[in-house]
Symmetry: C2
Subunit: 349 residues, 2 copies
């Protein structure tokens, strides 16, 4: 793959497409000026916007289609009828080697279905997972699966651990990420059989991660581990519960400041510091769920994201590709299953 | 049952037993002066403390035992060796009709095991659940199961819905509680088969609750429903994740106020309002998980609770008993399974 990366963009996905897609790509361009873009969607909507972003225009190519997958499209319907949609064509560009990664703010379920169908999983990966970042007292952690697989077996969880740790290393720069399995208690005998056997596998296998055993829900925000591994049902509930609680706290805080003249005065004095607090919890910083375990880098931006958030998602895709996520994943999964690759020997030596 | 209620107290459970148990009961006594207490534990530790609480002393009787179940005792070990422990004897007092309810700040797993073994479930209830209160934008909601049953079948969830709604009515005074099933999406086709069939049952059955369908993690803190029903694994993770996130927000807020002199000045002005905010999120207000679905009222206070929190847990036990939780549960479960009781006819008429 050349140094010059190309990112495929689904320009028609998300609440404010194509505008935030293009403005987001333009923000990413400031950080990575060499990257090129293949933009899939309705040319008549894209072209006028792109004309206002001349530096992006130079690095972009439009692939026209008027078909789109909406937020209401069921995954099964996307698979049946979505072949000419901007989302499908963008994913297909990765499969055909025209692009190195795809970013979409469209329907998550449809994107996962299309990405699985078009890109498939590499050898040794049974199922792809959705991973995301969660703010913690120590920065942020990677959590997966966030909803692609409601039920998981032992090997699914072990593979998620490997892929999540690699993501943490490649995108967040954590050298030897610690990984915890989300459970209802830290003791070895707690929880489902699948969790206990996954813990056994992670303890025994030689992997480029620190296995920290079981963690509980409150350990996530503490930053007890760099990577939280769980099934898609639990991960989805935990992530949304954390988001809901953070919003509740923010709402309560706002009400408190409005509750008296003194409190309002206090707010005025403290507002610089409080603005920083808001930034720290800003969901846009944590935008960009990634689909791990496919033959290609797929990043999903929030549907309601703004350009700043979409730009972050594009940067995550670029970081994954530049820092070798795909080759790393293939070699680590091979090592996990005792493949005779040079990595396995290097570890043994 | 007489108007004069008797509460059995496990005086040796929790981090600061027996002190917070006795001081907590004394706080509950102020609200309910007629209630009597059977206090199980080491007389030599209890008697001197009780001497300093003369009004409680008048209403209390000590049942001496030096055996206790510690926070490290496994549930299975509690069942094998705990028969003379303060916890077991207190639970047994309910079974024998000497007390109307039992409150303990001891080991949750052991308390559930002992309570299940000694009290059993009433006819029609397959498994007891742990229910607790969670703060929301609209006040608080009841959530269950919080960890008694890691896996649940359809009927478990339906029974939890009935019992949770009754608890919400009896203790929180919600007239016709709305009940949501925690899932990864609101659409009817989302989630596990067990959830979909439980939703079907709750939609069809005539029950004294409003079934609100599926809710997602972020709906909990919004206060979208009065009662959140889920399996014990998911409920435990969601509750602890919410607690962890609230602590994270509080920590970030504290740091913000310390980040500059201006911010510190702002804090001084706003601190009255912020104190109210702290109270609103005070976990002691939400103390007292209850075990629903047993032949007796069992309330579990946090192990690290203070006297105020323990007193709240005692008041929950009193409220449940005074407001007829036990008789209500039996009749509603009977109605659920088509028992020919007068309630079923009253509804049909």
């Amino acid at each position: 793959m050349s140094d010059r990366l190309t990112i495929a963009l689904d320009a028609m996905g998300g609440d404010n497409a194509p505008e935030i897609v293009l403005r987001g790509a333009d923000i990413a361009r400031e950080r990575y000026p060499d990257v090129r873009y293949l933009i899939f969607g309705d040319e008549s909507a894209i072209e006028p916007l792109l004309a206002t972003l001349p530096k992006l225009r130079e690095r972009a190519e439009i692939r026209h289609t008027t078909d789109r997958i909406t937020s209401e499209t069921k995954p099964s319907a996307a698979l049946r009828t979505g072949r000419q949609s901007s989302m499908w064509l963008a994913v297909n560009a990765v499969r055909e080697g025209q692009a190195d990664a795809i970013v979409s703010a469209g329907n998550t379920g449809a994107l996962m279905a299309v990405a699985k169908f078009v890109l498939r999983t590499p050898k040794g990966v049974d199922r792809p997972a959705i991973a995301g970042l969660v703010p913690t007292a120590r920065g942020e952690c990677t959590m997966l699966d966030l909803g692609a697989n409601l039920e998981c077996d032992t090997e699914n969880l072990v593979q998620f651990a490997v892929m999540g740790a690699l993501f943490s290393k490649v995108v967040l720069g954590v050298e030897r990420p610690s990984v915890g399995l989300l459970n209802v208690g830290a003791e070895e005998l707690k929880g489902h059989e699948v969790l206990r056997s996954a813990a056994g596998r992670l303890r025994e296998t030689e992997l480029p991660l620190k296995f920290a055993g079981f963690i509980e829900g409150n350990d996530i925000a503490k930053g007890a581990v760099d990577v939280v591994v769980t099934d898609g049902f639990t991960g989805n509930v935990a992530l949304k519960t954390a988001e809901g609680t953070a919003q509740l706290c923010a709402g309560f805080l706002k009400e408190s400041f409005r509750s008296s003249v003194l409190a309002m005065g206090g707010y005025l004095l403290a507002r610089g510091a409080l603005r920083k607090l808001r930034l720290r919890l800003d969901p846009r910083r944590y935008n960009g769920a990634v689909f791990l375990g496919l033959n290609g880098v797929v990043v999903k931006s929030h549907g309601g994201s703004d350009a700043y958030g979409f730009g972050n998602a594009v940067c995550v895709a670029i970081d994954m590709q530049r820092n070798g996520f795909m080759t790393g994943m293939r070699s680590e999964i091979e090592r996990l299953y005792g493949g005779p690759g040079p990595q396995a020997e290097a570890i043994a030596g």
